[in-house]
Symmetry: C2
Subunit: 348 residues, 2 copies
Amino acid sequence: MPATIRDVARASGVHISTVSRTFSAPHLVNPETRVRVLACAEDLGYRPNRAARALITGRTHNIGLIVADIANPFFPPLIKAAEGQARQRDYHVFVADTNEDVIAEEDLVHALAKQVDGVLLCSPRMSNSLIEQVSREVPVVVINRQVAGLPCVMMDVGQGARAAIEHLLGLGHRRIALLGGPRGSWTAREMRRAASAAARAGGAELTVIGPNQPTETGGGALAEQVRRGGVTAVLAYNDLMAIGLIEGLDALGLRVPQDVSVIGVDDIALSRLTRPKLTTVATPTAAAGRTAVDMLLQLDSDAPRGARGRGAAASDRRTTAQVMLQTVLVVRDSTGPVPEPGRDGAGA
Amino acid sequence: MPATIRDVARASGVHISTVSRTFSAPHLVNPETRVRVLACAEDLGYRPNRAARALITGRTHNIGLIVADIANPFFPPLIKAAEGQARQRDYHVFVADTNEDVIAEEDLVHALAKQVDGVLLCSPRMSNSLIEQVSREVPVVVINRQVAGLPCVMMDVGQGARAAIEHLLGLGHRRIALLGGPRGSWTAREMRRAASAAARAGGAELTVIGPNQPTETGGGALAEQVRRGGVTAVLAYNDLMAIGLIEGLDALGLRVPQDVSVIGVDDIALSRLTRPKLTTVATPTAAAGRTAVDMLLQLDSDAPRGARGRGAAASDRRTTAQVMLQTVLVVRDSTGPVPEPGRDGAGA
DNA sequence: GACATGAGAGCAACCGTTTGCATTAATTGG
DNA sequence: CCAATTAATGCAAACGGTTGCTCTCATGTC
């Protein structure tokens, strides 16, 4: 069985409180004593029991990260960044996956609440009011969504979508489709708003198809619909859907970008590997992960010990930071000039 | 602040031990009392504090899952399967990522040890002796590696590699390269052994290139070397490397499968999306995840409470299960007949 | 009617830490 | 030389649960 603080105390001939202080408040113990205690601890392979420590300090030094789908290549870079940042601050990240399921999401966050000091909700699918309720139980930072009164880190997909549409307009496209994201996604709503506005401003027609599953399969399934729509360009909710769509279009004999231009969002590693290489809106996922961890830890150090919950949490925080990270359009090979130039009267 | 067991006891007019039993041993409390307690608990939003419970029961109901690289698409399906299986058994999975780093791996497993009931070591890069040492501290199930005396779940990549080589032999290839995996990988060693044997048996020449980083970049970087080697077929350590290699070969003007045949391992979702679609050895990752969780939980229920560690753990377990899961070769479009048939005198 | 039986609930010790307070010894200032 | 301070340590009460034991009844048995 693992050595406890008592074993160390016995071995080094001091009281357990001295051992405790040797680890959590070294300046309070005599250097000589300290080295002796440390030696004994080392000797016995002692490691403080975090659960016991958490019980009394109220700090587990763990943070939870809930993502919609760990298999979606969008998330891993964010997860890694968060883990790295947390590790630097002596925290651990526990990742959990909801399978894009609202129920599982709620269950998980509750289950996690008690064993972490805070939760990062990444691309949550649940309702704002549910999120607010959760935030009363455990400190929360929301990623990829705006929730009033809660700390959020968002990526400016609105601007990204606008840039994408303008890029297409510049290539002469006037009939464009938007492949919508999953129901409940804030990002999907933002994209839709921005894309519609940009299309309208440019005198183009934007057809919205969705909501959809944000996967290759989801994208591939829409190929037929895209063809029937007679559009010359498509902006997809994410790269995965874009890639699936290209695959699907290919099966229908439509070439990208000769027949149809396709733009994705996220700039996942994969988008550089497919052929054609994907034009996409790059989102700063790693930065988002790091920022979110910092915000959560900040929140956490502000909160007086044991003062969690009881409604006050969300409201009386002096400044509830909301960070918007910039996106950038990366033009690669999946977009090109509209097939029959001038047909819509754009140029002349 | 969250309601504690005492609040519930007060509200329902019983002793805390009765509340405790209402949750952890319902049959010991009078049905009437039980419903009253449950009602109060519900009312106060009471949820047992897992940390406190863990302190005395020695069971956290969490299991740790340590993977080499969460961004490698090989892992997510395994993670998801493990999570699902665990959830069914009322356990939670905490995923952590080591970045293919031996040091981080060791740190993580130690940090996790105290807050979980067991650890799943997936594709560990550390030495066998280190793994054994770790297993003395916390129950461990090893995935994707064989460690004597420890429960392991492996995938039969040896057989897979053999099948792959034989497939290539059947297509007339006689000069084949093997792109090795990362240093310390058991899978890489197994593949190498089996592939060498199969090649020798078929009268072919096998060049081993490696060890390498098991990523697209790692694979892409080897294109030049593959060309110089003058081989007509390549078996890569995994799909990611295979895909990277194809990309790299393409940049050098070599076509797959016309000029070079390429086979990967894993059958990640992506391998169906690239062009050409990848021929690959499918590994039963989801099954591995589920099996590993079951084995760990089994282990855990065998162990008498608090009897962890002290050297006995590994040795006196009556049966240390070692499971080998089958792999299967999936032939797609990245393999084809050798360029100049008969040049090596195979057919006639 | 005495007695064993068992169900239901309470009591209190315990899990491994942290931490406010009390105690002691050594150091400083006047 | 005494009082006041400070440094180092010990003491014991928490934290939020679980569980072996004890106690009280109500029931069933002969």
